[in-house]
């Protein structure tokens, strides 16, 4: 009897209780709470408070769009002051760059890795300035009527700045089928918060074509699904740019590090999603060193391709008849243009990964080249930097013209209205294009040119995937070919191990096994 009781007790303490320990360990270990759900009121859901069509001042006969601006400002007074301080207007901002101090940087004065630089190519590039007629240095940044209100606030999708016209819409004299004279009364009667197309008309086409620059911002986002962009998908949240990129007094949140440098005025996922959105410790802890984007944007350029490589050194070739050449790759993206050189386009691109603390360095216009590839911008941050996180980055590589004597990147005149004015896109000649580009920018040139490798780093932020398509643990936590294979300044579990330590460890295990086997054999025989 006693013995039976003891047997039951043994069964309980040897089998039942340990099994319960494991059961609860596994049960609570694998239990996961639901991610945080958020409800954020959207700007795009706002209904207009007034009907602009009823305002008499907007019913006048407009010929010059500057008169529309004047009419806007007659009610919306002081808005011009706000706008004229914005980077959309100034194309530069003051930024403190470590090692350089305060500098003024922006499209106003820096090189980019695409069409090399805006200054001197105003007719083409300044189409995307929010003003009218920034043809050259004489543009008046203090004339409020130079502001183009409509390009951002038109809700009719009928107002466009005309190609090559430095920001002007078509006039009676210049109108074409593609760019008719806007119906200003109709447009002015239908203004409101910017839509996808107001932002996209410039931000999707930078670099001379759809998705050339960003990779994660392109025309597919005008109408898209949540599979491409979980925020903007029309079958989902249906958010537009300004729902995240909110503006206070025309200062729009969000920083693009192709032109900016400081860790200020940024837009962060946590502003809506909190710092612990997964409601799960293991995942939420990752956020202190991993940007949300890293896992949640596993690929970019999900629809149309983006440029990954742009080699200016081969530009200028002509065919047998002396005409400019266009060549295309198998996916119908151009691979060679006489006016621009060779390209590599790709879609569904896996980002590269770098530490990034929200500040960048820029290769300033007059910097001396020290290394190749020239870093057009470079991201600050490493593992030991408490502000740095691992970010997905589009790295755009290429070759640009430089002065081998003065060791500087060259400013090139690419655009002109007509042939014979020395612009590369018209005449395909480097010498006059460089000379005129350098002259316009008041820069000295030795008279020689060659081409040098360049790189620019664009952190990826858009085209956030649905949760089912985010990275999983083993995309990084893996011995071979993980996404973070190149980031080696820290220990990553699952990827890293100390060879000596592991080999010693396995040796100890094998020796133990051999030891007990040997001992057993000796006992038996």
């Amino acid at each position: 009897m006693n013995s039976t009781l003891e047997k039951i007790a043994s069964f309980i303490v040897v089998i039942i209780l340990p099994a319960l320990v494991i059961y609860f360990t596994v049960h609570f270990g694998l239990k996961r709470d639901e991610p945080v759900k958020i409800e954020v009121p959207l700007k795009s859901d706002t209904t207009p408070k007034v009907n602009h069509g009823e305002f008499e001042i907007l019913q006048q006969k407009f010929v010059n769009p500057k008169d529309v601006t004047a009419a806007c400002l007659s009610c919306h007074n002081r808005r011009d002051d706000e706008l004229m301080k914005s980077t959309h207007w100034l194309w530069e901002r003051e930024a403190e760059i470590p090692g350089r101090g305060k500098v003024k940087i922006g499209k106003m004065n820096i090189h980019n890795n695409f069409c090399t630089g805006a200054q001197g190519n105003n007719g083409s590039c300044m189409r995307c300035h929010i003003g009218y007629g920034w043809e050259d240095k004489s543009f008046d940044f203090n004339d409020a009527t130079n502001i183009d209100c409509l390009v951002c606030h038109d809700k009719t999708d009928t107002y466009f700045k005309q190609k090559s016209m430095a920001g002007w819409p078509a006039t009676e004299a210049t109108a074409t089928k593609e760019f008719p004279v806007p119906d200003y009364n109709y447009v002015a009667a239908n203004v409101g918060y910017p839509d996808r197309d107001n932002c996209g008309v410039c931000h999707f086409y930078g670099g001379g074509g759809n998705n050339v620059k960003h990779g994660d911002l392109e025309e597919a986002l005008y109408h898209t699904t949540k599979k491409v962009d979980v925020h903007m998908g029309e079958d989902g949240q249906n958010m537009v740019c300004v729902d995240c990129h909110e503006a206070q007094n025309h200062n729009i949140k969000g920083r693009s590090y192709s032109v900016g440098a400081e860790n200020t005025n940024r837009l962060h996922c946590y502003q809506c999603h909190t710092n612990a959105p997964h409601n799960d410790k293991v995942l939420d802890y990752h956020n202190s060193k991993i940007a949300c984007q890293t896992c949640h944007i596993p690929v970019y350029a999900k629809v149309n391709a983006t440029t990954l490589y742009w080699d200016w050194s081969t530009a200028g070739r002509r065919d047998a008849n002396g005409n400019a050449i266009k060549e295309y790759d198998a996916d119908h993206n151009y691979s060679y243009l006489s006016i621009k050189g060779h390209f590599v386009f790709d879609n569904m691109v896996k980002p590269e990964y770098y530490w990034f603390n929200g500040t960048v360095d820029h290769f300033l216009r007059d910097d001396t080249i020290k290394d190749s590839p020239v870093q057009i911008n470079s991201l600050f941050g490493d593992y030991s930097d408490p502000n740095a996180k691992i970010w997905p980055v589009k790295v755009h590589r290429g070759k640009q013209a430089y002065d081998p004597v003065y060791k500087q990147l060259l400013s090139v005149k690419l655009f002109a209205h007509n042939k014979g004015e020395g612009a590369f896109w018209e005449d395909l000649e480097w010498e006059p294009a460089i000379r005129l580009g350098m002259e316009y920018n008041n820069r000295p040139w030795s008279g020689e040119y060659d081409f040098i490798e360049t790189e620019v780093y664009w952190p990826i932020n858009h085209m956030v995937s649905q949760k089912e398509e985010t990275l999983s643990c083993t995309d990084c936590h893996t011995r071979e070919k993980g996404r973070l294979a190149k980031l080696n300044d820290f220990y990553l579990p699952g990827r890293d191990y100390n060879k000596l330590l592991d080999y010693s460890g396995f040796a100890i295990i094998i020796l133990s096994l051999l030891g007990v086997i040997g001992h057993a054999i000796l006992r038996i025989f």
Binding site: V13, L17, P18, V21, P493, H519
Partner: protein, 211 residues
């Protein structure tokens, strides 16, 4: 032959032992999966199970410390030199000749001198190192302040080495269970609590020297 049957392992002790066995097994499998040597559960599940079983292990460790202190059973784990030489000689030669064990178990002397050293090492060195480095990895995220632990490189190395040693311990431990008075005597004792050992006349009259 006469048998001496004595109650060596209390209910708590047996619960502790077998729970710990399962937890160490789970920790080892999941740990080596996280380290990249196995794939059984999948990485994410392995991480979650490793964390959870670490918590259970630490809870159980607290309970066992409390038990050891209140039951004074900690004396079993205090290393001694007494009969150490004889014990080494037994395992290296006597055991092959069928010689009797040089030491005898009692409630307050369950472990032979070699076991005492091994278990003390496990309890004082390996388990605390595994716990401290493991907790550091759980909570001392991305360390720079106040101590720059260089991404926990040392902690990770120590934790990994600890894992190898635990595996080596388990191998030897499992083998050693077969070296009792019969091949299964030790395992049976850890199940029933009672250990049966054959008793010779002279030994029966002998008092245990240890203690």
């Amino acid at each position: 032959m006469k048998y001496k049957k004595q109650y060596l392992y209390s209910k708590f002790e047996r619960f502790w032992h077998w729970s710990q066995m399962l937890l160490v097994l789970l920790l080892t499998l999941t740990g080596f999966e996280i380290h990249g040597n196995l794939s059984i559960f999948g990485f994410e599940t392995a991480v979650r199970l490793h964390n959870a079983s670490a918590w259970s292990f630490m809870g159980l460790a607290l309970l066992s410390i409390f038990w050891m202190l209140t039951s004074k059973q900690y004396v079993n784990f205090i290393p001694t030199k007494n009969k150490l030489k004889e014990q080494v000689q037994y395992y290296t030669s006597g055991i092959f000749k069928g010689m009797p064990h040089p030491t005898h178990k009692t409630l307050f002397n369950k472990l032979n001198p070699l076991q005492r050293i091994t278990y003390a090492g496990l309890l004082i060195l390996i388990f605390p190192v595994q716990i401290i480095t493991g907790v550091a990895y759980l909570y001392y995220h991305y360390p720079a302040n106040p101590i720059d632990a260089e991404g926990l490189r040392m902690a990770v190395a120590a934790h990994t080495m600890g894992a190898f040693l635990v595996v080596a311990f388990v191998i030897v431990h499992m083998y050693m269970t077969t070296t009792g008075y019969s091949v299964s005597a030790n395992v049976k004792a850890m199940i029933s609590g009672y250990e049966k050992e054959p008793q010779h006349e002279d030994e029966a009259n002998k008092k245990t020297e240890l203690q």
